[in-house]
Structure formats: structure tokens, C-alpha cells
Subunit: 225 residues, 4 copies
Amino acid sequence: MCPQAVNRQARQEKIARAALTVFSKKGYAATSVREIAKAAGMGKGTLYEYFQTKADIFVAATKQWLNALESRFSIHVAGLEDPAERLTALAHAFVELVDPLDPMTARMSVEIIRQGVLQEGVLYDRRHELREVMLGTQKRVEQVLLEGISQGIFKAAHAKDVGKMAANFIGYLDGILLHSVMTKGELELKEHVDFFITTVLHFLSKPSGGPSRRGPQNADLKGAS
Amino acid sequence: MCPQAVNRQARQEKIARAALTVFSKKGYAATSVREIAKAAGMGKGTLYEYFQTKADIFVAATKQWLNALESRFSIHVAGLEDPAERLTALAHAFVELVDPLDPMTARMSVEIIRQGVLQEGVLYDRRHELREVMLGTQKRVEQVLLEGISQGIFKAAHAKDVGKMAANFIGYLDGILLHSVMTKGELELKEHVDFFITTVLHFLSKPSGGPSRRGPQNADLKGAS
Amino acid sequence: MCPQAVNRQARQEKIARAALTVFSKKGYAATSVREIAKAAGMGKGTLYEYFQTKADIFVAATKQWLNALESRFSIHVAGLEDPAERLTALAHAFVELVDPLDPMTARMSVEIIRQGVLQEGVLYDRRHELREVMLGTQKRVEQVLLEGISQGIFKAAHAKDVGKMAANFIGYLDGILLHSVMTKGELELKEHVDFFITTVLHFLSKPSGGPSRRGPQNADLKGAS
Amino acid sequence: MCPQAVNRQARQEKIARAALTVFSKKGYAATSVREIAKAAGMGKGTLYEYFQTKADIFVAATKQWLNALESRFSIHVAGLEDPAERLTALAHAFVELVDPLDPMTARMSVEIIRQGVLQEGVLYDRRHELREVMLGTQKRVEQVLLEGISQGIFKAAHAKDVGKMAANFIGYLDGILLHSVMTKGELELKEHVDFFITTVLHFLSKPSGGPSRRGPQNADLKGAS
DNA sequence: GATGAATGAGCCTTCATTCAT
DNA sequence: CATGAATGAAGGCTCATTCAT
């Protein structure tokens, strides 16, 4: 009756996970199905029991990666109250994507973008799904900004621009991350991002009313850099 | 040098130009040599008279593209004196890369990055060359910043950070451009970039005119924290 | 013999029946074992409990089909006494193989022939078994002819040729049936077959003894057409 | 300018010819492209310079075969005046299709029919083209019949039935040929066909002028059988 | 006994590269 | 020089068969 009770979803996730490591290393086109199978520790044919095509495997790997990203963001931000700190934490989560010892995630992001941008790309027809995920992160940033405003920490005048600011924030992070990957660590990613945040917070923040201007200022700057 | 050499180079450029249009449309892997030959209006075998491999053609196309980019920047900036205006002009040059009617250049940039980032990428072993070109643009930005400082328009305190600032500037532009390409114009690229520049200039600029320099400066510093 | 054996045979027949519908629709090569299993309402592995290979399943399906054919002939001929009528009835049984609404049987016959004729065919090594069955039908025709002669209806001179005549009869029916299938009903099968029988009976029949030659002859022709 | 002046059509014919021998031996599905290439004495990839798909190769092989058939018929019939002889010659051309030493053509006919009959068959969508060719042969037979009638050799009463008769004639030949192939020569093909022609001519022919009708008729039968 | 998950041989097809002309 | 005909390695995918459950 029940020969092998295999958890289909678990199997698919295992494959997607294995595929992720290979795709991120060599890209979609240069990765052969055989390699994926080997990485997943199973036969070539088995992959096709769980996915229709190589492209589907790539999509699954992509989704897995995006989910991992999301949860990483959640972990970083968890427990932080101060909007400035939360913004910084988000950026740092991005920074950590570029592990010099395992730059997988960063490379994967390049490949994903490519597959979504190029007409012949595997994700081209599903790029709206990607956009959804990215919008999720963007919304997260917007919320932080709005909280900052409502808490009186950020200037209320920017309320109408939170959308643009969030998009720019994410855009910047993606861009600088790419550059970092491309230079393989020559670029001091964290320093750059911290500096960027300084810029942004400088733009956002109200003069922190108080008797002494210098003290807090220094403290803040130290923390940001 | 000799006429033949000139002829040879002209041929190579013609091929590179043709290849660029195809590569930017379909990406490296999905582009066949036959297509390039057809686009260049010559036989497949002839390509191999001027290039050793398909990868070499891609490198040539890449260089051509980067040069075109450089000259585009030069044109935009030419004649502008005010550092703020020059910064803005540079950014606008980037924005115009994403022609909604011909997103070729933007897509090409994705492909180039990918080929430079992925281990199996055609440009992987030459990514330092890419880095060179990007550093060129970065230097250009740095120079504008330094000029602004020397002209007393930008705060002198940032002099030590021009490197970071320029890298961030370029990084942001690349990132937001990618997002724009990926969303196929849903994102209002120009508005976002202009807003970003506002942020940057706000951070950079001295309080424009005023009786006391210190006061405003302090205010600025406050704002940054 | 023992209950299990009976059960076993029933299972095999069920599988063969299911396989027949699929094989006749798509041919041997294009039919996958999975499809057969689904059509039989059981698991793929189960099939291999009852058959060694896919080829064996095809052989079983073939035999089932041939048996069905035989019984169809029996039914048609049952109760008819007149040899001419019996011959006609046999031919009509063939004609009905090509049901425009369900051309399964006709298509199956093509596939069977193919598998028996081609070196790599599944039935190639067993084509003698097929020949047996076909000889069965041929013998049936021969017998009708001999009865007609012994009844004085057909010319006695043909007694020595009944073998050839029967073979030709069956051969013609197979051939015209194939053509009909290939033209998907554009060919008026029944009309052609009836005309053929006219020819044959004209050749076979004695001038039906009596004062007038024309009358009876006409009668025969009418009856045949 | 002109690296290799290759005669495309000659090349295609060479491939088709080679493919014919393999297809006729093993059938479409069981024949691999590699085998065709080897038989044609060229690389696998070369085939795809001249044909889009394996199916296209099969179609080309089919057409070649049909053309060969046509010319064979022409040769056999050439120079014959007497309609009866021409009919016989046509039938004999068919008979010779089954060369016991090289039964290729006969097997090919089975495969062609199959591919045209089965829904998944390669020729299924082009079965009308096949029908055209077959109609060509049929027309040829019809013409012979009509000539016989106009020459006063065949009964004028059959003029309205020449269509049916020709279709039956071809149908019979195809059918008996298949049986012959399936039995690998156990069936004496020529004898059977000759006997069949006797039947047909008996049906067709006018009593060959003479005082008595019975006499000549008997004579004919003797001679024919 | 019944099942379907797993497998890998083998299929058709593409394409960068070579080379005779 | 210019060409495109020729090639075979390699790719994605299918599927008959096995076997653990």
C-alpha cells in the first residue's frame, strides 16, 4: 500500500538546497543537472521526479534563497527598538550576505537578477514574483522610517518620501554588495555601508534637542561607523 | 599601425559592436556565434580570424560598452562647473542608461557583472580589468567631490571620506539601475535618483551663505546624529 | 488452477486489456509503462509482478486483441448457412473493425504487423505465433469455400486453389482496411469490400444451373453487394 | 567567398538514402540519429545541418522511397501495350518489392503506414501527402482499366467502377505484401498475386470473341491459373 | 502481494570550433 | 582573407526496470 512514504516537500527542499550551492557558484547555464544531482546525493532521474525542468529547480532554489534572506533580516532586527538601530541592523544583515569565505549568497543574487532581467532568463516570466519579495523588504524599511517619524526621531517632513527612501536604501545595498563581490573583498563593505547609513541618518534625523550637542553626537557617530 | 592593422582593428570593432547588441539581448550563454556572425554581416569562420574564442568576443564587446559609457559621462559633465551640478549630471547619465525603449545597456551591465562575479564567468579571470574601469568612474566622482571642497562648497571635513563616498555613489547608481531594469520601469528611476542626490548634497554641502560658519555647521552635525 | 492462479490470470487479462487501449492509441514505443499502469488502475511495480517486461505486456495485449477478433468473426458467421453469405459476413466483420468513432482495433493491427515485421519489433521473434492466428482465420475461409464447392454452389475446379484464394481474401481485407484507416474514412470501406466480394463470387460461382444464365447470376450479384 | 560548394540537395538525398536503410530495418523509434549518421558516413551534427529534426529525416526518407516506387512502376509498365499485361506488370512490380534478400522496401512500407496511422506518428500530420502518392498509383491503375475498356478488351459495364476496382487492386497488393513479409517468404507471393490477377481479369474481361462464350472463358481460366 | 521512489543508460539536439576550399 | 560545412562533446530529459518498504 505504502511502499515508501517520502516527504515530497522535504525532498524538494533538499534538492533546492543542493542546487543553490551549485547555481550560486557557476550560474544557471554552466550548471549541469548531473552536478545538481551529485550535490543532492541522488540520481539524475530522481530530480525529475520532483521537478519538471532544470528551470523549475532554479526557481525553487531562488525561492529558498529569498526565504533564507527574509528570515535572516528578521533575526537581525528582532529585539531592536530604536529605528536608527533597526535600519543599521538591516543594512548589516545585507553586509553579512557577503561572507568572504562563502560568497554564495551574493553570487546567487547576481544570477537571480540576471535571470529576471534577460529576456531569455529563466525567471524572466516570473520576475513579478521576485519584485514581490523585494517589495517585502522595502516595506520593512518604510515601516522603520515611519516609526522613526512617529517617535519623533526622524523629521516629519520626510513622511511623504518614505517610499523613495526605502527603495533607494535597498537599491544602494544591492549595488554596493555587487561591487563588493566583484572586487572580492578589496572593498571594505562594512565601512562603506556604515558611512552610507551615517549619510542617511544625517538627512533623516532631527537635531537631537538637548543641552549638550557634542556628546551625543560623538556617541552616535561612533556607533554608526 | 600599418594599414592592415588598422583594418584589422576596424573589423574587430565592428564585430564587437554587433556582438554587443546580441549579448545584451540574450546574455552570453544564450547567444550563439552564428548569431553574432549574422549580426556582424559576415561568416562564422571570419569571426575566428579576429578573435580566438567566443569569450574573447564578449570581452571585446564589454570593453566597447564600457568605453561608450565613459564617453557618455564625459559628454554629460562637459561644460559644467558647479560640483553639485556635475554630480547630478553624472547620475543623470546613469539614469539614461535605462532607456525604456532600448534597455540594452542596462541588461548588458547585468550580464557583465554576472560574468565577472561567477567563477565560471567569462570575465571572472579578468574582473580586475573591470574593476579598473569602475575605479575610473569612481575617481571621476572623487575628483568632483574634492573640487567641491576646494571651492568651499562642500564641507572640508569630508575630504578624508571622498573615496568611500564615491564608491557608495557609484554603488547606489548601479543598484537602483538594476532594480529599475528588473521592474521594467515601474520604478520612477529619475525621481529616485534625484531624491538620492538631494540626500547626498544635504550631507555634503555647507550651509549656503550665512553670517557664521560654525553655527550651521554644528547644526549639520547635529542633524547627522 | 488453484485460486491464486485464477486470480493471477484475471489480473494479467485486466492489464492486457488496459494496455490494449493505450498501445492501440499511441503505438508500442510511445506508450510508457506508467500509462499502462494508470489505465489498469494499479501501480507501476505491480505490472512487473505479472509480466517480465513491457514487451511481454504487448504480446499479451496482442493475443487478447486477436482473440477478440476471432470471437467477433464467430459471432458474425454464426447461423449463416449459405457459403456466399458466410464469406460476406466475414468480410463485413473486418469492415466493422474500422469504427470511425473508435479506430482502435484498426490501429492496433498496424502496430501488431509492424512489431512482427521489423527486426527490432517486439513480436519479431514471435511472428510465427501471429502467423498461427492468421492461419486460423484463413482456414476458416478455406472451409467456407470448400463447403460452397461441396454444396455445388462454387465451381469444383477451384478446389485445389482454396488455399491461395483464402490467403488472398484475408490479404485483401487487411490491405484495404489499412488504406481506409490511413485515409480516415475518406475511402468508402464497405462499398469497396462489397464490390470485391462481387468480383470473387463472380469468379467462384457456377452459373447457377437453370434455363437462364443471366437471372441467377444477377441474383448472386445482388446478394453479394 | 565560396568555401565549399556543397550540393545541398545531393547531401540531403544521401542522408535520406542512408536513413532509409536503417529506418526500414528497425523502425523509426528504434533508430537512433547516431546510427543514421554512421550509415550516411558523416557526423551526427552534420545531419542537423540538412534537417531540422529526426522526424524530418524520416519524412525525407519516406518521400525518397515513394519516388523510387513510382519509378519502379514506370519501368515495369514501359513498353507494354496490352492492358491486361500492364495490370500484371504493375502487380509484379509490387511483388518484387519483397526481395527475400533485401526486404527493406516492404518493411519500410509498414513503418510508413504506421507513422501515418498512429496519432503520435511522425507522418500523422502529413498523411494527406502520403495519400496523394497512393492516389497517384491508383490513378495509374484506373487508366489501365479505362484503356482496356476503350480497346474493347474489358467489359464496358465496369467503366463506372474503375475507381473502386483500382483502390481494391492496390489495397490487395499492399495487404498480401504485408502478409508475405510477415511470414518471411513462406507465402508464395508471386503465385498468389498471379492467381488474384486471374480472378480480376476473369471478372473484367469480355469473352474473347469466338463462337461460343463458354469455351474461351474456360481457356482463359486455364491459362491464368 | 502491492507500490512508487530511485536510477542511469540512452535519446535528440545544440553549438563552439576547425579547416578545406 | 573569407567562408560555411563538418564535427563531437555535452546538455536536458525520458523511461523501463529494480527494490525497499
